[in-house]
């Protein structure tokens, strides 16, 4: 190692240490990504929980014939996949923060899962889950199978928002925007809220549907009622 020190000093002669702010910016950037992906994971988890909690397990026989077919058709797989994907991205970024390596994978993932569920719970309580019902039918095929199932009047499933009601009929705009008259003379009615109803029954005419059962579109999520007051 002849004159190695001289060679090194020669090499750095015209160099300068990189500014400290550059390293800080990089570290904050990685932290920001970790937090951002954690929030995305929580959003995805909120939608997953909303769809899971509101899934129509009690109608599985009518909807799909068998429990397994119903599970395959209606389980919100895509949101579970998004939740896990964002969780992994958040983990990957956290591991690349300055001190991320000090923590084991098990500890980081466990803590992240707790945070994701907590935030998902808060988001659901603020009604975030409902945004998934606002997407159009084409996208619903991927993101909200439940909506697709309940927009099938030929098979006896209908869902939408009530615009007017009296003793015998409801006027309903379904989630695709189509107007319907719903006959409720022989229907079993469960108290519902503003955001919509799901109806089991029979299509009588092009825009007339005879209801057998009318139920709220979604269940109240834990403290949601208090938050929405």
């Amino acid at each position: 190692m002849k004159n190695l020190d001289e060679q090194i000093l020669g090499k750095i002669k015209d160099l300068k240490p990189k500014a400290k702010w550059k390293f800080l910016v990089k570290n904050y950037f990685v932290w920001s990504l970790a937090i951002l992906f954690l929030i995305f994971a929580s959003f995805a988890c909120a939608l997953f929980l909303y769809l899971l909690i509101n899934n129509d397990w009690e109608y599985y026989k009518i909807i799909a014939g068998s429990f397994w077919d119903f599970w395959i058709t209606s389980f919100p797989h895509i949101w579970l996949v998004f939740t896990i994907a964002f969780l992994m991205l958040s983990y990957f970024n956290f591991k690349h923060t300055e001190k991320g390596y000090k923590f084991s994978k098990r500890h980081i993932i466990s803590l992240a899962v707790v945070i994701i569920f907590f935030l998902a719970f808060v988001f659901c309580s603020f009604g975030l889950g409902k945004v998934i019902d606002a997407i159009n039918l084409d996208q619903s095929k991927v993101f909200n199978q439940r909506k697709v199932i309940w927009l099938n009047p030929e098979k006896g499933f209908l869902a939408g928002e009530i615009v007017k009601e009296d003793e015998y009929n409801l006027e309903l705009i379904d989630f695709e925007g189509k107007f319907w008259i719903i006959n409720i003379e022989e229907a079993h009615m469960t108290p519902y809220r503003e955001e919509g109803v799901k109806i089991l029954g029979t299509k009588i005419e092009d825009d007339v549907f005879k209801a057998r059962e009318v139920q709220p579109w979604s269940r109240i999520f834990l403290f949601e009622k208090d938050f929405l007051k």
Binding site: L4, D5, K11, I12, L15, K16, P17, K18, K22, F23
Partner: protein, 195 residues
């Protein structure tokens, strides 16, 4: 400007890094303190030739200087510089498309006596393995265990330092050391049997 290195003997690495940020000439102190240690470390974890090792070492010191502001004083400076060295060696493995291996164990390394107490081998087998055979045995051990064994028994780093150098949790360091020792013990016993 002539600098008398002995004047800075009492200064810690961390204090010297602060001086380097004020004046480049103080970098010589760090070079003098670490060039031999790092050269030995590179030799222990790679099989590069002399010239390649010197090139790697030069690149390590250039990187240390350029990235000096990223040094976090929560960390030991030696851990930080070893980490940079290891990364540079790995980069060069990729560059030269070589596989990591134990290339050098000097008789004066006293590796065996250190690891023998760690493995509790004294009572079980009379280990008289020369450096060449030990190198061969170590070469057969899983690389991740080998890395921690080198840092623990050759570089004499503690768990915290190994964790900071390899950027793995301390629990993982403990696991790797334990598994590495078991694997090494098994290989040594096998060697004894067929000797």
């Amino acid at each position: 400007m002539i600098m008398i290195l002995s004047e800075f003997e009492n200064k810690s690495d961390e204090e010297v890094t602060k001086l380097v940020l004020q004046d480049q000439k103080y970098f010589l102190i760090l070079v003098k303190r670490y060039q031999d240690k790092l050269y030995r470390y590179i030799s222990r974890i790679s099989n590069f030739n002399e010239q390649e090792k010197e090139d790697i070492l030069q690149d390590v010191f250039v990187k240390v200087y350029v990235n000096l502001n990223s040094f976090n004083p929560d960390l030991k400076f030696s851990s930080w510089i070893y980490r940079i060295t290891r990364n540079e060696v790995i980069n060069n493995f990729r560059k030269y498309q070589r596989r990591p291996q134990i290339a050098r164990i000097d008789p004066e390394d006293d590796f065996m006596s250190r690891i023998r107490s760690g493995l509790d081998l004294e009572k079980e087998i009379d280990v008289k393995i020369d450096a060449g055979h030990l190198r061969e045995i170590l070469g057969k051990i899983n690389n991740k265990y080998k890395e921690v064994l080198v840092l623990k028994f050759l570089e004499e780093k503690d768990y915290k330092e190994i964790s900071d150098i390899l950027k793995i949790p301390m629990g993982t360091v403990a696991t790797y050391i334990s598994r590495g020792k078991k694997e090494l013990k098994k290989k040594i016993e096998k060697y004894e049997k067929f000797r």
